[in-house]
């Protein structure tokens, strides 16, 4: 059984480079240039509409929450505000970080900065971390964004639903960065020229949180934190619920996104909050395609992909037994069946046959 070391500075990182898994050439479903060009086209319309709805709803929910505070009648409004602050910000951070949500770049940058603040991810650090995630998706020792490691830490995953661990780590990182320190792992993927920006953002955010603390002390109330900061905890559940499904229980150390990513059909509300990232195989295979074109991309390449999970519930029903099994045997993973119309997995590259037999 392979023991996994997820440190970006450990031996496994070097091993991944030696094996040719780092910055490797990944499998892509074939699409004509004409089709790809049409799918990649950027538009401002859909993201402008969604951003107005997103921020408008936040203002309304927070406004009613403040108005009804401290009555328990305010609770449902805070819960709704929380999901938009602590979960929808995750997908906005993601899409605007790719620069695909809007055609106009300053709009991507503006929403990216706002979403980063809400989700507590330094916009510079996480831009580089996410670039690595796309280069080396679920390559152990290379990908800094592996959520469900093996063996899975279920307590940590559960804590994610209330954001406590993530927020605590983010606060610590913010304070360290604000003191002018870039840690060794960050230095592996953030170029030296970009590191001063990490520090500047951390200082600005620290000032915002300090102002919130002073406001709370002045008002003798936690109300300012209900608006800024705490929704990262009480509204985190949706982005963790959907995010765990992206790669959970699937293969690692492979170079075919059909093996390590999952597409799940979801209800319209979750798709709005998640900005269509439920089409996750498609997104990883073609990160240039904006969120609003992912359903069209899915329709064009689904013949070459494992069947999409029909719902969030069905996806968890598939993932949970695999995750449980990984507690005892961390090499186990779900090998999802391809339709007859698909090109086969490149088993010779991934030692899938060996791993599958061993797992069984």
């Amino acid at each position: 059984m392979t023991v996994r070391n997820y440190s970006l500075l450990g031996e496994t990182a070097q091993e991944a480079i030696t094996k040719g898994l780092a910055a490797a050439e990944w499998y892509h479903t074939e699409l004509s240039r004409k089709e790809m060009k049409a799918l990649m086209q950027r538009r401002d319309g859909p993201a402008t509409r969604d951003t107005i709805i997103w921020l408008g709803a936040m203002v309304i929910f927070a406004g009613v929450g403040v108005w009804l505070w401290p009555s328990w009648w305010s609770a449902p409004f805070w819960l709704a505000y929380g999901v938009l602050y602590g979960s929808a910000s995750d997908s906005r951070w993601h899409e605007c970080g790719h620069g695909t949500a809007f055609r106009t770049q300053w709009m991507n940058d503006a929403v990216y900065q706002l979403a980063c603040f809400m989700i507590m991810r330094n916009p510079v650090t996480w831009r580089w971390s996410h670039a690595r995630h796309h280069t080396d998706t679920y390559i152990v020792g290379r990908d800094p964004e592996i959520v469900l490691m093996r063996p899975p830490d279920l307590f940590r995953a559960l804590l994610g639903f209330i954001g406590i661990r993530d927020a605590w780590l983010a606060l610590k990182e913010m304070i360290v960065n604000a003191l002018g320190i870039i840690n060794a792992e960050q230095a592996t993927f953030i170029p030296p020229d970009e590191q001063p920006k990490v520090i500047l953002i951390a200082r600005i955010w620290s000032a915002v949180y300090l102002a919130t603390i002073f406001a709370a002390l002045y008002m003798q109330s936690i109300l300012p934190f209900m608006v800024i900061g705490l929704p990262r905890l009480y509204g985190a559940w949706h982005h963790v619920l959907t995010g765990l499904l992206q790669h959970g229980g699937l293969a690692d150390n492979v170079t075919d996104h059909r093996l390590n990513s999952r597409t799940v059909y979801m209800n319209r509300l979750s798709r709005f909050v998640y900005w269509n990232m439920n089409y996750h195989v498609e997104h990883h295979m073609f990160p240039m395609v904006p969120y609003h074109a992912l359903p069209a991309l899915h329709a064009k390449i689904r013949h070459d992909l494992p069947e999409a999970s029909p719902s969030i519930f069905a996806a968890y029903r598939e993932m949970w037994p695999a995750v449980k099994r990984q507690l005892r045997y961390e090499d186990f993973f779900l090998l999802r069946e391809l339709p007859p119309t698909a090109k086969p997995y490149r088993a010779e590259l991934h030692e899938l046959a060996v791993a599958k037999i061993a797992a069984e």
């Binding site: 910055a23 240039r33 790809m36 060009k37 990649m40 086209q41 950027r42 790719h98 620069g99 695909t100 055609r103 770049q105 831009r127 580089w128 670039a131 796309h134 280069t135 170029p191 020229d193 970009e194 073609f286 990160p287 240039m288």
Partner: protein
């Protein structure tokens, strides 16, 4: 010293698009702007050696298909992270419907 090499025909590239051109074991990217001007750069992104010809041309920008890094394909200047190093550009001329790039 100039070394003009025929890369493609004008009609091989759609308006606001890019194609790949290989010469002497090296990849280049040939662009046609929305104004029907032609440009040429190195074919691989300076970030992680991905072919830019699979990327998206928007106005004067080429966006890398892997990490969405951006360059101005007219000047090679960096226009968006995660790219940090500019792209090498090459002079281009069009003669009798054919696009030539200067590799000299």
């Amino acid at each position: 010293m100039s070394l003009w090499v025929g890369a493609c025909m004008v009609d091989d590239i759609d308006s606001e698009d890019v194609i790949r051109f290989d010469h002497s074991g090296k990849a280049f990217a040939i662009y046609r702007s929305p104004d029907n001007e032609f440009f040429a750069t190195d074919g691989l992104c300076t970030h992680e050696q991905v072919h830019l010809a699979d990327g998206l041309v928007m106005d004067n920008i080429i966006e890398c298909p892997k990490h969405n890094g951006r360059f101005d394909y007219g000047t090679g200047a960096v226009k968006g992270a995660p790219v940090c190093v500019s792209l090498k550009t090459y002079p281009v001329k069009v003669e009798t419907g054919k696009v030539f790039i200067d590799l000299g």
